[in-house]
């Protein structure tokens, strides 16, 4: 009797452990679908347009050689809203891209503190993260809506 009860508890613990592992799995990031999901799920106040690939390195102040591919949607310069997905050529390049992205957001926060406090708050609640070889920057006035989408990938 004691043996059977012990086996049942062991099986139950095993099932519980496997269930926990399945719940922590993230989606594989696909830049275009990610940006499209953000544009549809989150509410951006500015009219975002995709920047030319030549402008992206200049805007972020990075070496274009570190970028394998990039999708950047920017506003009219009236707001700080922005979406950027960089695919770095390697992990080191991804780290450099991440640092450049954080520097830009920090500069923006400093700029908007005196010019537009609301935009500064938006920048502080934005997302700058690295997942694999991808670096993601999401600055959106609809912070909650943007979080719901980014949490699926990060």
């Amino acid at each position: 009797m004691k043996k059977s009860v012990a086996l049942l508890l062991a099986a139950l613990c095993l099932l519980t452990a496997l269930t926990g592992c399945g719940g922590s799995k993230k989606k594989t990031l696909e830049p275009r679908s990610f940006v499209d999901e953000l544009m549809t799920q989150a509410k951006f106040t500015d009219s975002l347009n995709e920047l030319d690939a030549k402008v992206v390195p200049l805007l972020y102040g990075v070496d274009a050689a570190d970028i394998k591919s990039a999708i950047v949607y920017a506003g009219t310069a009236a707001t700080a809203e922005e979406i950027a997905v960089f695919e770095a050529v390697d992990d080191a390049a991804a780290d450099r891209l991440l640092e450049a992205a954080k520097a830009r957001v920090a500069s923006q926060i400093e700029t908007y503190k005196s010019y537009g406090p609301a935009q500064a708050m938006t920048l502080e609640n934005g997302t700058v993260a690295k997942t694999g070889s991808y670096v993601i920057v999401v600055i959106c006035t609809d912070t909650e809506g943007a979080k719901k989408v980014t949490d699926k990938y990060i």
């Binding site: 500015d46 009219s47 030319d52 402008v55 009219t76 310069a77 009236a78 700029t111 010019y115």
Partner: protein, 604 residues
């Protein structure tokens, strides 16, 4: 008579070849014909013949002359009408282009029948003469058949003019007379009658068209053909007879009386059994004429008369048809009239078609989206004409030169801005991102940057670290964040910035970009500081500043305005009414590509 004799007597004129062995062998070549003064022979190239009416005594005349037609000779005519000397003909000089060869002078034995006389249809116009040879009439000078009276009697001319002048058709008469083919077809007849035949015959019409119609209908229905004489040609002399004149007068009187009393019957004794001849199809048919209406009684319309008149139904039909046509025309005209108002050039279209203004911004504004990518974009249209500008090479020189950047006919490539830098506020950031020129020139921008704090807060290392002659064009754009401040301090701050830049970049042309306009919503929002009047004040101060400090004023303000004087909705970002959409930045870039100055162009 052999062939040589035949040719010698023929005078060398072109004749058909003499047949060999024919009976013509002994036929005399020349016959004497009576002189008919009404039929003049044109000059055929032979010497003038002085006609005396008597045969000339010559050796050749020993041969008995055959009698002329009718058995009368010229001598007989001379005896009948008395001695008459034929008038000499003054022959004009023949054209050298005539194909007729020179003919030897031959003294004829008898009166010669001209070969041309036998061919009255000869076209003398080929001889280079358009008029017939003048003829000298005894007692008169040069005879002009068109102006002078008739050769044989002015009475005919007078009668002709009196009765047969077609006064109602002068143009047709004249046109027919002037047809060149008329004279060529009947030269002799026109020579005699002074008019070509067809219009002359046309002028003989003495009855009105109404009378003709009435007579035709009467002939057709009553069959009284005996009263109608067949139309035939009459001689000219017969037309001028007294009988003819009286007959014409009688016809006119009868026609007038018929018009006055068309239903009136002659008050003669009734002939109930009057037999009339009928046309060939109705031969042997007795036609009984209806009895005439007794005098004093009301004229009863006969069946023929009723048929001849217009029935009321026909009149009603015509009236209804005309009314319908009028109504339709009225409707169509009304419809067209409405559209004609639209076809008139509207005031707006006139504005569109008028000469473009000199302000180059208007040209660029018209094609803001012509080149989304600012790579080689020869977009702007040249507007060199007008009282305010003139074209000097590629440069559109405004009359009031001032500090404004002149317009260029051709746009430049992006590569021209390799040695250019733009320093400014968030507008410059937007220009950097969306104009497509981010990689073509350098940018230093800061969101919320002002000209006051630019020297202390912005990184101007590109200005200071590069060589003093590195940049050729430096664009400065501030003001939208300062329009709520004092304009004088704004200008003084600008002066400090320009001095700083010129200290490090000595060869560059400095462009002061105008303060951009805002939308109407922003202008009317009390919470906003960017008002249009303040913006205009700042721009005016910037113009004066450019004059004083030898800078160029890049007037994109005017380029971005709409018809109401605000930032155009085509360019404005609706979120704030101050920044631009991508289209606005592209238009700005295109404006810069057509508004620039050369490195050695100095403001006066």
């Amino acid at each position: 008579m052999d062939q040589d004799q035949y040719n010698s007597l023929s005078g060398g004129a072109s004749r058909p070849p003499r047949p060999q062995g024919s009976e013509v062998e002994d036929t005399p070549l020349f016959t004497e014909v009576p002189y008919i003064p009404t039929r003049r022979t044109p000059n055929s190239g032979r010497p003038d013949v002085s006609f005396s009416g008597r045969p000339a005594s010559s050796g050749a005349s020993s041969r008995p002359r055959p009698a002329a037609s009718g058995g009368r000779t010229a001598a007989d005519y001379a005896e009948s009408y008395g001695s008459y000397t034929r008038p000499t003909q003054s022959r004009p000089a023949r054209s050298n282009s005539s194909s007729r060869p020179a003919q030897p002078r031959v003294t004829p034995v008898y009166t010669e029948i001209s070969w041309d006389q036998l061919r009255p249809d000869t076209d003398y116009s080929s001889l280079g003469r358009t008029a017939r040879p003048a003829m000298t009439v005894p007692g008169q000078e040069e005879y002009d058949p068109r102006t002078a009276p008739r050769y044989f009697g002015g009475f005919e001319q007078e009668m002709d003019d009196l009765f047969y002048q077609p006064a109602e058709q002068p143009a047709a008469w004249q046109n027919a007379y002037q047809q060149p083919g008329r004279n060529r077809e009947q030269p002799f007849q026109s020579y005699q009658t002074n008019r070509p035949y067809p219009p002359y015959q046309q002028s003989r019409q003495t009855t009105t068209p109404r009378e003709i119609r009435q007579n035709a209908v009467a002939r057709q229905r009553s069959g009284r053909m005996e009263t109608q004489q067949p139309r035939q040609k009459k001689s000219i002399l017969s037309l001028f007879s007294a009988d003819r004149s009286s007959e014409l007068a009688r016809q006119r009187r009868s026609a007038a009386s018929e018009r006055q009393a068309p239903a009136k019957r002659p008050e003669t004794a009734p002939n109930r059994n009057a037999v009339r001849t009928v046309p060939a199809g109705n031969l042997n048919r007795r036609v009984v004429t209806p009895p005439p209406t007794p005098p004093g009684a009301k004229a009863k319309p006969t069946g023929r008369r009723s048929h001849r008149g217009v029935s009321p139904a026909l009149l009603m039909g015509i009236f209804v048809t005309v009314a319908l046509v009028i109504v339709l025309l009225t409707k169509v005209t009304g419809r067209n009239g409405g559209s004609s108002v639209n076809t008139r050039p509207a005031q707006t279209s006139a504005v569109v078609t008028q000469a473009p203004q000199i302000t180059p911004e208007a040209v660029t504004e018209a094609t803001p989206e012509a080149t989304p990518t600012p790579s080689p974009t020869p977009v702007p249209s040249p507007t060199p004409d007008g009282p305010k500008a003139r074209l000097q090479g590629d440069l559109v020189v405004p009359a009031a030169w001032g500090p404004a950047v002149p317009e260029r006919v051709h746009a430049v490539y992006d590569s021209r801005f390799e040695r250019s830098i733009m320093i400014g506020n968030s507008m410059v950031e937007g220009f950097f991102m969306w104009s497509g020129m981010a990689s073509s020139m350098d940018f230093v921008y800061g969101t919320g940057a002002t000209v006051t704090n630019v020297l202390g807060t912005m990184d101007l290392a590109k200005i200071t670290l590069n060589a003093s002659d590195y940049y050729t064009d430096i664009y400065l754009m501030f003001g939208l964040n300062e329009v709520g401040t004092d304009v004088n301090s704004f200008v003084q701050s600008y002066k400090k910035l320009v001095d700083f830049i010129r200290e490090h970049q000595t060869k560059a042309n400095i462009y002061i970009v105008s303060v951009t306009p805002v939308t109407k919503e922003v202008d009317q929002d009390p919470n906003e500081v960017q008002k249009m009047d303040r913006i205009r004040t700042f721009n005016a101060a910037l113009k004066e500043f450019c004059v004083d400090y030898n800078c160029w004023y890049l007037d994109i303000y005017s380029m971005l305005l709409d018809g109401n004087g605000y930032l155009s909705a085509d360019y404005a970002y609706a979120g704030d009414g101050k920044h631009f959409e991508k289209s606005g930045y592209v238009a700005w870039a295109n404006f810069m590509k057509t508004h620039y100055v050369d490195a050695d162009l100095i403001t006066e």
